[in-house]
C-alpha cells in the first residue's frame, strides 16, 4: 500500500463492484468496508453494524444505504447512522478518489485499529 502523510492508497475504484463492497483488513482492529453505489460514489464505514456487529460489507447496497446481513438494519453510507426506526451509528472513514485510486483517511484507519 502506498502511503502519504494523511491518506492511505487502497486500490482502484473499479476493484469495488458497483452496488457492492470490499474490505480493508486492519491488523488488530475492525475491518473497514468500502462501498460503491449505483451512482459510482464511494464510501467507507467501519465494517460493523451498530446493532449486533454484523459485517456491513456483506449487505445489499441500495440507494445511499446498506442493509446489514444479520438483521436487515439499514445504515446510511454517508453518515453511518441507522435509518428508519432503528437507532445507532457506525463510524465513518473519510474517502477520496484521486485519478481513479481510492484513498482513505490514515488517522481514522489508525483509530479503527486502536
Amino acid at each position: 500500500m502506498t502511503a502519504t502523510a494523511e491518506w492511505l492508497d487502497i486500490g482502484w475504484v473499479d476493484q469495488i463492484p458497483v452496488r457492492g463492497s470490499r474490505t480493508v483488513q486492519v491488523e488488530g482492529g475492525d475491518d473497514i468496508a468500502l462501498f460503491r453505489t449505483a451512482e459510482g460514489k464511494v464510501f467507507a464505514l467501519l465494517d460493523r453494524c451498530p446493532h449486533k456487529h454484523g459485517r456491513l460489507s456483506q449487505g445489499i447496497v441500495h440507494g445511499g444505504a446498506v442493509a446489514c446481513p444479520l438483521h436487515n438494519w439499514r445504515i446510511s453510507l454517508s453518515t453511518g447512522e441507522a435509518l428508519g426506526d432503528d437507532k445507532g451509528c457506525t463510524p465513518t472513514v473519510p474517502v477520496k478518489i484521486d485519478g481513479g485510486r481510492v484513498l482513505i483517511c490514515r488517522a481514522s484507519t489508525l483509530k479503527a485499529a486502536a
Binding site: 488488530g28 451512482e39 456483506q58 449487505g59 446481513p69
Partner: protein
C-alpha cells in the same frame, strides 16, 4: 489562412496575445471587444489551420446534419474588422515569462503585455498496445471528423472506446454514415457522469434498438493490427473487428505550455476569481483552468469565465464564483438532462416518475425542501425549470406533490389538492392509458363493489399494467368511498404499488429481461430498488428465463453470494452435500482434514443429516471448497433459497420394517433437485415405512413408503408454525414419485411469492389447486416436470468448484491490508 501583419506601425496600445483560437479564446476576445474595442491590440494563435468554430457542433457535422461552414463562429472578416491578427496552424510551443514573449513552431516570436492561455483540453488516450496504429483517432477537432468521414466512406466496422457523451455522439454519427458500430464502455452504465443507472439503462436499450452494439463493463486490452488497425481486443479475450477506432474516454486540461513556463498548475492551470494565473501578466480561461479546485468540461462555465476575465481586463473586476452545471443534450436523437448532485445520500429524497409507454424517466432529488439534483430521460422539457429552482435554492415544499409532473402542472395547480384535481376531471377523461379506462368506468366499477385498488385492477383493469395511474385510481377510491376504502394486498415493498403476483405476471406477459427493465416498465418509485425487492426480482427473472437471465450477484443476500452461511461473528459455516444423508470414509476424512487445517472450532450434525463446519473465514472459503471438491463433495446449498437436503431413513435395505428403498429414492430425488433456486428454502424427506423416522410429514415434499407404493405429502413445516403435510396422492412406482416431485417443485417455483415457504403458499392457494395441477392434470404435470428439468440443466454447476478455481475471487479477498505497527515504525 491569411497571415496579417503582426505589428501595424505606431500602435502603442498594450498587446494582448491569446494562445488558443477555440471557443474560450475567441469568446474572451468578443467579451473584451464588447466592453472596450480599442483597449488592447490583439493577436490570436491557433494550432488548427482554421478560423474559430463551434467545437460542440462537430457531432452534427459527423452525422451529416451540418457542414463546416455552418459551425464557424467567427469568419475571417471578423478578425479583419476588429483588427485582430490571427496566426493559425502554427502552434505556440513555449512561453518566456521573463522576456514576455511566446515562440511558435515555425520560430515566430511575439512579445506580449498580457498573455491569455486558452488551450482547452487534450483527449485522453488510454495507454494500450496499438494505440498509435493508423486508424486510431480521438474525437476532438475537424481533422478527426475528416478522418472518420473518410473511414465511413470505405464502410466496415468501427469501435468507439468510451460510452460518455462524446463517444456516443461519435458512434451515432458513424452509425448514420453506414458503419457497423460497437461502443466499448468500462463502466457498468453509459454516461455515468450525467445519468443515473436507470436512465443509463434506458439509453443503452434505445441505442441497441438503433443497431449499435453496446458493451458495458468492457475493458480494452489492446488494439490489434498489422500496419493499420484491424480490431480491438478486450481483457476477457473478445476480439472485435474494426477498421476505425475512436478513443473518446475523456479529456484532460491542456496544461503542458503553462507547466513548462513555471505557472502554478494543479489539475488545470490555477486561476483566481479574475482568471489571473500565478503570474499577474498571464491569464487563463476555459477547459484548461482550475478554479477553486474545479475543472470544467462544459460550455456554460466557459461563458461565465469569459465575462469575468473581460471585466478584469478593462479594470472593472466582477469575479468568477464557479458554475453550477447542467447537461441538456440529445444523444442520438434522445433527450437527456441532468443537473446537480444525483448520487443521493443522507437526507435526500428521490421523487421518481416513470412512464414506460412514452419511454420517460424523471428523477428529482430533494434535500431539506430544496432540489439538489435532477435526471431526466426522454422528456427534458422541464429541465431548465428544475435547474432554475436548484440554482436559486428555492423551497419546494409547497410544490412537493406535483413537482415531478413538471412546471405546467405544478405551477398551474400550485399547492392544489390532487384529489380536487381528480374530482374536476370529466367522466370521459382517460385514467388508465394502457387499458383505455375512463374516469366514469373506474367510478362505476367502484360503485359496483370494487372497494380496493386491487379490486379495481381486477375488474376494470385500470392501473393493472404499468401502474402509473395508481395515484389517480387511489384518489378516485377515496372520493367515491371516503373512509370505506379497503387496503389492497400488500405491495412487494415501498418501491412499488404492485404486489408480488402482479409483478410476476407482468414480467412474463411483457417478456421482461432485467431488473432495471422491470423497474422502468412497472414504474418503480426508487432508482435502484431496495433489499426487499431486488432479491425477489432477481429470482422471478431467473425463474422466468432459465439459462438466459444473467444473475445479479449484488441483488442476492450474502449467503447466496458467498455460498456459505454467515454467522454472528462474521465467519461462515460450510455444509458439503451428502446425497440422501449417506457418506463414506473418504468424505469423512476430507471433512476431518478441513476442520483441522482451518482450525474450525466446531463441527455439528445438522437436522437435515449433514455435517456443518463452523468458524471458517471468508478468505479461506475457496481453499476449503477446493479440499472438499477433491474428495468428490459439492455445495450443500445450506445457505440458499434452494433445495437444502433430502433426509432419509435406512429403508428396506437394512431395516426390518422397511417397505421400499427409501435411501435410494432419497439419493435420486436429491440428484434431480439439487442446485435449483426457489422462492424459499425447500426440504425433502423419504421414510421407508409409516413409522416415518425421516420425519417426512413436516417437510416441503415428503415421501412415506408403504408396501403398495409411495404416499406423497406436501406443505409441511417444522419452524415457528409447525404444520404437518397434506397428502397429495399415492403412486405405485419410484419414477412416478420423482415425476410428481419435479412437477410440484416447479409449480412452487412458478407460483409462490418470494420468501414464501410451501406451507403458507398451500394455505393461501388451497390444496385443491395443487391437486388439480399435479394429480388430476397429467399433461400439465408432465409440462411442469419438463420445465423443471430444463431449468435444472443450467443450475447443476457446483458453485464451489468455480470459486475454488478462482472465479469471483474479489468476493473473498480483502482489497488491502493495513498494519498500523509497520506504518508507525
Amino acid at each position: 489562412m491569411e497571415h496579417r501583419p503582426l505589428k501595424p506601425a505606431a500602435d502603442t496600445r498594450e498587446h494582448l496575445v491569446v494562445i488558443g483560437n477555440g471557443m474560450a479564446g475567441c469568446r474572451a476576445v468578443e467579451e473584451l471587444l464588447a466592453r472596450d474595442p480599442n483597449r488592447y491590440r490583439v493577436t490570436i494563435f491557433g494550432a488548427e489551420p482554421r478560423v474559430n468554430y463551434n467545437r460542440i457542433m462537430l457531432s452534427p457535422v459527423l452525422a451529416g446534419e451540418k457542414c463546416f461552414d455552418d459551425i464557424v463562429i467567427n469568419d475571417a472578416a471578423w478578425y479583419a474588422d476588429n483588427g485582430i491578427a490571427l496566426v493559425a496552424g502554427d502552434p505556440v510551443l513555449a512561453i518566456d515569462r521573463a522576456a514576455k514573449t511566446v515562440m511558435t513552431r515555425s520560430g515566430l516570436s511575439e512579445a506580449y503585455d498580457r498573455l491569455l492561455i486558452a488551450t482547452g483540453s487534450d483527449p485522453f488516450i488510454i495507454p494500450v498496445p496499438g494505440k498509435d496504429l493508423p486508424g486510431v483517432i480521438a474525437f476532438r477537432d475537424m481533422d478527426d471528423v475528416d478522418t472518420m468521414l473518410a473511414a465511413a466512406d470505405a464502410g466496415g466496422d468501427a469501435v468507439v472506446i468510451g460510452g460518455g457523451l462524446l463517444g456516443l455522439e461519435a458512434a451515432h454519427g458513424l452509425s448514420l454514415r453506414g458503419m457497423k458500430v460497437t461502443v466499448i464502455h468500462l463502466m457498468p452504465t453509459l454516461m455515468e457522469r450525467q445519468l443515473d443507472e436507470a436512465a443509463g439503462w434506458l439509453l443503452k436499450n434505445a441505442l441497441e434498438a438503433r443497431g449499435q452494439t453496446i458493451l458495458t463493463g468492457a475493458d480494452t486490452a489492446e488494439i490489434v493490427g498489422d500496419g493499420k488497425v484491424e480490431g480491438v481486443k478486450l481483457k476477457d479475450g473478445t476480439l472485435i473487428p474494426a477498421s476505425l477506432v475512436v478513443m473518446a474516454v475523456g479529456i484532460r486540461p491542456s496544461v503542458a505550455l503553462a507547466r513548462d513556463a513555471g505557472l502554478a498548475v494543479g489539475r488545470g492551470i490555477q486561476v483566481d476569481d479574475h482568471m489571473v494565473t500565478s503570474d499577474p501578466a498571464v491569464l487563463a480561461v476555459g477547459e484548461c483552468v482550475e478554479h477553486d479546485g474545479q475543472v470544467y468540461g462544459l460550455v456554460a462555465p466557459l461563458w461565465d469565465m469569459c465575462r469575468s476575465l473581460a471585466d478584469g481586463l478593462v479594470e472593472k473586476p466582477s469575479g468568477y464564483r464557479g458554475s453550477v452545471t447542467s447537461t441538456k443534450l440529445k444523444v442520438s436523437g434522445i433527450d437527456v438532462f441532468s443537473a446537480g448532485d444525483f448520487s443521493g445520500g443522507d437526507g435526500c429524497e428521490d421523487i421518481v416518475l416513470r412512464d414506460a409507454s412514452r419511454g420517460v424517466y424523471k428523477r428529482v432529488i430533494v434535500k431539506d425542501d430544496r432540489i439538489v439534483g435532477a435526471v431526466l430521460y426522454g422528456d427534458t422539457a422541464d429541465g431548465s425549470w428544475y435547474f432554475d429552482l436548484l440554482k436559486k435554492q428555492e423551497d419546494v415544499s409547497d410544490l412537493r406533490d406535483l413537482l415531478i409532473f413538471g412546471q405546467a402542472f405544478a405551477a398551474g395547480g400550485g399547492a392544489a389538492d390532487p384529489k380536487a384535481a381528480v374530482a374536476a376531471l370529466s367522466d370521459d377523461a382517460e385514467i388508465c392509458g394502457c387499458n383505455g379506462v375512463t374516469k366514469g368506468q373506474v367510478v362505476s366499477c367502484i360503485a359496483k363493489g370494487a372497494h380496493s385498488l386491487d379490486a379495481v385492477r381486477g375488474t376494470c383493469k385500470a392501473s393493472a399494467s404499468c401502474g402509473s395511474c395508481t395515484g389517480l385510481v387511489e384518489n378516485l377510491l377515496a372520493l367515491t368511498l371516503g373512509d370505506e376504502v379497503q387496503s389492497g394486498p400488500k405491495t412487494m415493498c415501498k418501491c412499488t404499488s404492485f404486489g408480488h403476483d402482479d409483478v410476476r405476471r407482468e414480467i412474463v406477459a411483457q417478456a421482461m429481461r432485467s431488473i432495471p427493465e422491470v423497474m422502468q416498465q412497472l414504474h418503480w418509485t426508487t432508482p435502484d430498488g431496495c433489499s426487499s425487492c431486488r432479491p425477489a426480482l432477481n429470482y422471478y427473472l431467473l425463474c422466468a428465463l432459465p439459462g438466459d437471465y444473467v444473475d445479479d450477484q449484488q441483488s442476492r443476500f450474502v449467503n447466496e453470494r458467498l455460498h456459505a452461511n454467515i454467522q454472528k461473528d462474521g465467519t461462515y459455516s460450510v455444509v458439503p452435500r451428502m446425497w440422501g444423508g449417506l457418506t463414506n470414509p473418504t468424505e469423512l476424512r476430507a471433512i476431518a482434514d478441513v476442520v483441522e487445517k482451518y482450525n474450525a472450532p466446531m463441527v455439528k450434525v445438522t437436522g437435515g443429516q449433514r455435517l456443518d463446519i463452523f468458524g471458517i473465514k471468508k478468505e479461506d472459503l475457496p481453499a476449503v471448497w477446493a479440499d472438499l471438491n477433491a474428495a468428490g463433495m459439492v455445495s450443500g446449498h445450506a445457505y440458499g433459497k434452494a433445495l437444502r437436503t433430502v433426509k432419509t431413513c435406512v429403508g428396506s435395505e437394512w431395516c426390518r420394517f422397511g417397505t421400499q428403498d427409501s435411501t435410494g429414492l432419497g439419493v435420486k430425488l436429491e440428484r434431480m433437485s439439487w442446485g435449483s433456486w426457489m422462492p424459499h428454502k425447500f426440504k425433502i424427506a423419504v421414510s421407508g415405512c409409516p413409522r416415518n423416522c425421516a420425519e417426512a410429514t413436516i417437510k416441503d415434499f415428503g415421501v412415506v413408503c408403504v408396501d403398495s407404493g409411495y404416499e406423497l405429502h406436501v406443505g409441511g413445516n417444522g419452524g415457528i408454525h409447525v404444520r404437518a403435510t397434506d397428502l397429495l396422492c399415492k403412486v405405485a412406482t419410484e419414477q412416478e414419485a420423482m415425476d410428481h416431485c419435479a412437477a410440484f417443485i416447479q409449480l412452487y417455483r412458478e407460483e409462490a411469492r418470494y420468501l414464501e415457504r410451501t406451507a403458507p403458499w398451500i394455505e393461501r392457494v388451497g390444496l385443491a389447486h395443487i391437486v388439480a395441477r399435479i394429480v388430476d392434470d397429467e399433461p400439465g404435470r408432465e409440462a411442469l416436470r419438463a420445465r423443471f428439468l430444463f431449468s435444472q440443466s443450467f443450475s447443476q454447476d457446483d458453485p464451489w468448484a468455480q470459486r475454488a478455481e478462482g472465479a469471483e475471487a474479489e468476493h473473498h479477498a480483502p482489497m488491502a491490508r493495513f498494519t498500523p505497527q509497520e506504518e508507525l515504525a
